[in-house]
Amino acid sequence: MKNFEERYSGDYESLYTGYFKKFFNYGRKFTEDNSLIEDSIQEVFLDIWNKQNTHIVIDSPTAYYFAAFRYTLFKNIKLQRRMGGLGQRDDEPVFSIEQRIISSEISEERRQKVQLALTILTSRQREVIFLRFFEGMSYEQIAGVLGITTKATYKIMYRSLSRLKEVLIIPIFIMFFFLD
C-alpha cells in the first residue's frame, strides 16, 4: 500500500460507502444493535482519516480495515455488556446467522439446508467461511483479520468445510432440522 490517494483511486465518499456496507453486513453477524455498528464504523473511519498522511506499509488494506473494524466492534460490544452488567461480558462475540426461511422454492432448498448446516459450526468456523466465500478474501487476508497464522486459517477452513460436507450428504438429518 503506497499512500492515501493511491489506495483509493475513487473519491473518499465512495470509499466510505463501500466499506460502510461491508462493515455493516459483517457487524450484523455479531450484533443486532445497528447504532453500535454505526458507532464502530465511525471510529474506524476517523482513524483512517487521521492516518491519511502517513504511508502505511501493510500487505492488504482490506484485511487491515476489517481487522480494525472487528477489533473496534468487539471492544464496543464488550463495553456495552459491561455497562449492562451481563454475566458473559468477557466472552468473544459470536458470529451468528439468521435461520430465516424465506420461501419454499426448490432453488432455495439447498441454500436453506446450507444455512441450517452452518449453525452446527463454531463461531470462528462460520466467520472463516464468511470471509472466504462472501467477502472473497484470501487465506492470508483472513489470517490478518483474525490475528492468527495462515497455517491456522487453513486448518480451521479444512475442518469447517469437512464438517459441513459431512452434514450435507445426509439429507434425512437435514429433514429433521426442517420439521423442528
Partner: protein, 351 residues
C-alpha cells in the same frame, strides 16, 4: 497464489476439491484463464467430473443472509463523519466588532497575517515529506530498514514512524510505540568539521533517546518503558525533566514508569532481553504473572488466571518463549496447571 497444475489433481476426491484454494478461487473470482484450466482438466480426466461438479455446487451454496444498510442512513453517517473530521482540526473564527479601531490594531492584524502566512508555508513545506508507518499485528515481527541503512526489528503489536526521506541536514528521527530493537548506523555530520556524530533520535511516550551508533531495545507496554542497551552509548531524556540527561552503558536496563515518573537502573543480559527478535524470549525465574503479561502484549490473547495466587507461582531458572503454544505447554507442565482455550481467551487454573 499457487499455479494450476492438472497432474496434482489426479488423486483428488470431492472433499479435496472442496478444500482446494485454487478451485475456491475459481468459484469466488471466475475468469477466462481459470475456466480454461478447469475445462481442459475435466476433458483429460472425465472420471473427475462428478466430484468437481459436486464440489462446485457445494461451494456455491455457501451463502450468507446479507444485511444491507439503508442508503439514506449511509449518507447521514457520512455527513456526520465529515463533521467529526472537521472538528478534529478546529479552525477558529475571527470575531469582528462594529467599532472603529485605532491604527495600531490594523498594523498588528497585518503583521499577524504575515506571520500566519509564513508559518503556513513552513508547515506546508514540512508536511511535504511524507511519513512512513510500519505496524505489526499480534504475533508478528517485522524487519524495517531505515533510509540511512539503520535497521529496526519491530516486535508484535507495535508501530514505528519516520520520514520517507532523510536528507543530510536533518537529524534522524523515529517515533515508536510498543517494542523494537534498534541497530543504528554511525554517520558523520557533514555540516561540521571534525568527526561529530549525526544525531539519531527515538521518540517514545514521554521521553526521547539520543543515539550514537548503537544497538538497543525499547519496550513500551502498559505505561512502562524498559530500555536495554546492547552496544555503544545512548542518552535518555524525559519530557517531565528535560534538563536531566541519563547516560547508559552496555548491559544497562532503565525502567521508566510514566505514571509515577520513577526511573530505575539495573544490569541485564541484553542478548537474552532482545531474544524476541529470533522469537526466542528468555525470562529468568519468571512468575506466571510476568509470563502472562508478556503473552498478552505480544499475542493479543486475553489470559485469565483462576485465582491471583497462582500468578505468583515461579518457574525456577531461565525459560525460553518461542511461541504461544510452547509457552502454554511449559505453563501447564512445569507449573502443573490446566489450560482451557476458547477463541482468544485462555483460562489458567491450578490442577
Amino acid at each position: 497464489m499457487e499455479n494450476f497444475s492438472e497432474n496434482s489433481y489426479a488423486g483428488f476426491s470431492e472433499i479435496d476439491f472442496i478444500n482446494d484454494p485454487i478451485l475456491q478461487e475459481w468459484i469466488i473470482r471466475p475468469d477466462e484463464k481459470s475456466d480454461q484450466n478447469w475445462s481442459s482438466f475435466l476433458k483429460a480426466h472425465p472420471e473427475k467430473r462428478q466430484d468437481v461438479e459436486n464440489a462446485v455446487r457445494f461451494l456455491r451454496a455457501l451463502q450468507f443472509e446479507p444485511h444491507e444498510p439503508d442508503i439514506k442512513r449511509i449518507k447521514e453517517c457520512y455527513d456526520e463523519h465529515m463533521s467529526q473530521v472537521k472538528a478534529s482540526k478546529p479552525t477558529k473564527p475571527i470575531k469582528m466588532r462594529n467599532t472603529r479601531r485605532p491604527m495600531y490594531l490594523y498594523a498588528a492584524a497585518l503583521l499577524a497575517a504575515v506571520v500566519l502566512f509564513a508559518s503556513l508555508l513552513y508547515t506546508f513545506d514540512r508536511n511535504s515529506t511524507a511519513q512512513i508507518a510500519v505496524l505489526t499485528n499480534y504475533g508478528e515481527i517485522k524487519q524495517v530498514s531505515l533510509p540511512d541503512g539503520s535497521s529496526v526489528v519491530l516486535n508484535a503489536h507495535s508501530q514505528v514512524k519516520y520520514s520517507a526521506t532523510w536528507n543530510d541536514e536533518e537529524t534522524r528521527e523515529v517515533w515508536l510505540t510498543g517494542e523494537a530493537f534498534f541497530n543504528v548506523k554511525h554517520l558523520t555530520d557533514t555540516r561540521k568539521t571534525g568527526s561529530s556524530q549525526k544525531k539519531f533520535l527515538v521518540h517514545g511516550e514521554g521521553f526521547t533517546i539520543e543515539v550514537v551508533g548503537t544497538s538497543f531495545d525499547i519496550r513500551q507496554r502498559r505505561g512502562k518503558t524498559e530500555v536495554v542497551l546492547q552496544t555503544g552509548k545512548i542518552i535518555l531524556v524525559r519530557q517531565q525533566n528535560p534538563g536531566q540527561k541519563i547516560e547508559m552503558e552496555p548491559g544497562d536496563m532503565l525502567t521508566y514508569d510514566i505514571k509515577d515518573a520513577t526511573i530505575i537502573r539495573a544490569r541485564t543480559r541484553p542478548e537474552e532481553y532482545s531474544g524476541w527478535k529470533e522469537k526466542k524470549l528468555f525470562l529468568n525465574n519468571p512468575t506466571l504473572k510476568e509470563i502472562v503479561v508478556y503473552l498478552e502484549d505480544n499475542y493479543g490473547k486475553n489470559i485469565v488466571l483462576e485465582s491471583p495466587e497462582i500468578g505468583n507461582k515461579r518457574i525456577e531458572g531461565p525459560i525460553q518463549l518461542n511461541n504461544l503454544d510452547d509457552a502454554l505447554f511449559i505453563i501447564s507442565t512445569v507449573l502443573n496447571t490446566d489450560i482451557e482455550r476458547k477463541d482468544s481467551v485462555i483460562l489458567i487454573r491450578a490442577k
